[in-house]
Point group: C2
Chain length 247, copies 2
């Protein structure tokens, strides 16, 4: 039941309790990405609070990109498969020097199973030796290779993933993981470094061995801050840059 008094030592305001109830609905799959959730009035009745309190809960979740409000229509669960292009490439910060908008071309190279080593098990919070899936792929912009990615996924969550699925997938990888496996990426942490290209990477990216590359390690999280993806990307920044907003 909802707590109504402020005297509790673990007090959290009503709207946060409502927020975590809505969050439960998202985690449990009661409302799936792209779908509408009940109206503010319905939720207010269901949870026995005022509409304003539900509104404040939803406000916060909309600010966190978990929900999307559409006036006159309803409130939707955010999805990487949204028609909106901004939502689709929300996690890709690479921009061309030319300024032209370029849609990346996705070229999956390999996809195989393996067992989690020290690092993968620590980062993905799975057992040492647990099954994982490794994907290697190339991203091209304007027909030129710009990014090599190596992606580690926990095998138990993303069991049936194959190279064919990746090749046939129109949208982004996250869109695929969301619609096929019901796992939505909420946020990610990236660690950036400058490194020198090894021979293999240089060949794939069409640069000289030893050329400077941007190395980006990313850990992505789904609901409840559960890590579900670890990837390392090598970016050729000859004709592109990584754009970041500080605020």
């Amino acid at each position: 039941m909802l707590q109504g008094t402020h005297s509790s030592p673990t007090f959290s305001p009503l709207y946060r309790q409502i927020k975590s109830l809505i969050l439960q609905g998202l985690e449990s799959g009661e409302w799936r990405p792209g779908e509408v959730i009940p109206s503010e009035n319905e939720l207010a009745v269901r949870f026995s609070v005022s509409q304003g309190t539900v509104r404040k809960a939803i406000d916060e979740m909309a600010a966190e990109n978990l929900l999307i409000r559409r006036q006159g229509k309803g409130t939707y669960v955010a999805s990487h498969n949204d028609a909106d292009q901004h939502e689709k490439f929300r996690f890709l910060r690479l921009m061309p020097d030319s300024g032209n908008v370029e849609t990346p071309e996705n070229l999956p190279l390999e996809c195989w199973r393996a067992k989690a080593g020290q690092e993968a098990s620590r980062i993905l919070e799975i057992k040492l030796g647990a099954p994982i899936t490794i994907i290697r792929r190339l991203l091209k912009f304007a027909a030129k290779p710009v990014v090599i990615d190596e992606i580690y996924l926990p095998g138990e969550i993303f069991a049936g993933i194959t190279l064919e699925m990746l090749q046939n997938c129109q949208g982004s990888l996250y869109g695929l993981l969301e619609s096929q496996f019901g796992v939505r990426m909420i946020r990610a942490e990236e660690r950036l470094r400058a490194i020198a290209a090894d021979r293999a990477s240089a060949a794939l990216l069409g640069v000289a061995e030893g050329a400077p590359l941007l190395s980006i390690e990313r850990v992505s999280f789904t609901y409840a801050d559960r890590p579900v993806e670890w990837r390392r990307g090598l970016y050729s920044t000859a004709d592109h840059y990584y754009l970041n907003q500080l605020g």
Copy 2:
């Protein structure tokens, strides 16, 4: 006067009008960084709206790091000179591999006047040939050089800045610009690339010529999205990484 009807073609809700009135107070210096602004009730009376409307305006500005609310005390203008360390290094994303928290050591090298060239005039939105000030400095972490910065400031705004001021400045550069010149940096855009170290930079950073470095160009903005700083930094990412949150 405030507009009360929705029929206007340039309609914006009341709380946004209040927001921009408060913003004017910040821009004009009526309330300076670190000071308290009037209470929600006072502002509500002054602007002839309800307290809830003022609250919503302040909510947005607090979310944008323009204001800081402190329960029981009041609402403060955000400042780079806050005691809070997070606020002080809000724009520095560099983290040590070791995980230990390191306070950077600031070593100003040079500070001279010049005239804006093509690029500086375009980026800082000033006239070609207008006076600018150029600063070069080194950042050390744990006694080791990690960052070289070259900083371009419009000369008319930051007229009296000297190498001595930079050397005597305890906190961050932005804290100095704020307290000495009344210009507060609100947000910034960074463009990241991997490049090869030239001879001079390599010597300063203690790496080999040609070693990969992280190049970061930053444009910082004050109120009303006015650009007031352009800088280029070269980061040695041997023992540090650039941390970014995507979400």
